[in-house]
Amino acid sequence: MKYLDEYRDAAIVRSLAARLRRTATRRWVLMEVCGGQTHTIVKQGLDELVGDAVEMIHGPGCPVCVTPLEQIDKALMLAERPDVIFTSFGDMLRVPGSDCDLQQVRARGGTVRVVYSPLDALQLAIRTPEKHVVFFAVGFETTAPANAMAVWRARELGVRNFSVLVSHVTVPPAMTALLSAPDNRVQGFLAAGHVCTVMGWSEYEPIAAQYRVPIVVTGFETVDIMEGMLMAVQQLEEGRFEVENQYVRSVTRDGTVPARHLVAQVFELVDRKWRGIGAIPRSGLGLRPEFADFDAELRFGLGDIVVDEPAECHAGDVLRGKLKPFECPAFGTLCTPSRPLGAPMVSSEGACAAYFNYRRLERRSEQPDVVAVATEQSL
């Protein structure tokens, strides 16, 4: 809340929040899908601003958080190989695997490089023919067009020392899985604006109709999110269950057609395990058989591995919206951003990190917490 005063759109946000409070005749439960939106909501205290009108449940839209432990362990196995240069987006480096993380593998002598774009990894492969370059292809529909192009280009240019470890996930099947759960509480969604910039929103129309939930395509700025919440509540109050587009300045119904086209040429729908949530049918993207040469799992014979999540981490309950991060016994004590037990504490898009960064001290006033006190003194 204290940050909101500094924000130039504060007056608009307050007026939208007041309208939302007047519109709501009861408390509605909404879920924001995108981790970037979670960050904004928690940092700016938007959930607190709407009072009892809306309960926000934070969804699983953090790619770092839902990448399954098995894929992290495979990444670690590849990064340890002397013949491999392992490349990744920066925020995967500190995600804990079963025994360690990519940063620790690098400290022990593994070659791990942060790249900004998958084309950087391909370029590195072209310039380093004596090594094999593996790129960790993770993310939602926003990174899929980039990763698809890297594979497409590798084939086009005949680059043989490049492959990808794929762990792509897609948003609509996760929403369906959440809505199908017998104990589901979500009554409406804010869909992720940038995912829809790529994909459009036609995929969401059958979900809104079948499960009778409003789905509002929403941007990630403070005003966007408050307006998205208002639009969803207006629909619920009027008994409408439609896909609406709040983020008109970026999103069209069909999305970015050439990007969707290439993604469909390189990837196909596969069953995918989500970290902390479990397997969701046809919720991921895997390489099509014609791109098998670029599949790191096949090339290095990684096969299927099954590993257990650490019992003390409740990330799965947080990602399903069953538990607020501060309700986890490990939050802020066993699990902190500098020593994360689970991925949601690592990424800036993760709900646990957002609560640790912006809500920890408020919580301390209600319930003293040794780590929070120590951290505050060190600031």
Binding site: C34, G90, Y116, S117, G139, P145, A146, V159, H194
Partner: protein, 104 residues
Amino acid sequence: MCLGIPGRIIERRDDRGLPMGVVDFGGVRRSCCLAYVDDQVEVGDYVIVHVGFAISKVQEEEARRTYESLREMSQLDELDWMRETADLGLSAFEKPVAQRRGTA
């Protein structure tokens, strides 16, 4: 990694059939792939870039607002990766095309 960053196209190039360009992100310049917006953009236009790929064209005012909002929300991690990786010399334009073709 899900939030795109707005930037301004300051140069366009063709890298063996792949439309590329140099994009300026508030002073940090990176080569980006323009294949997905190829027929909509020219030098001087603003685009939203996800992990090195322009995904949509935006108006200048919207680009400025979005950039400012990302900065306020401390969500410009990708700019840090750009800076971190700049010293690896991995920009697609940093080596002449002819030289790269030799190793491909």
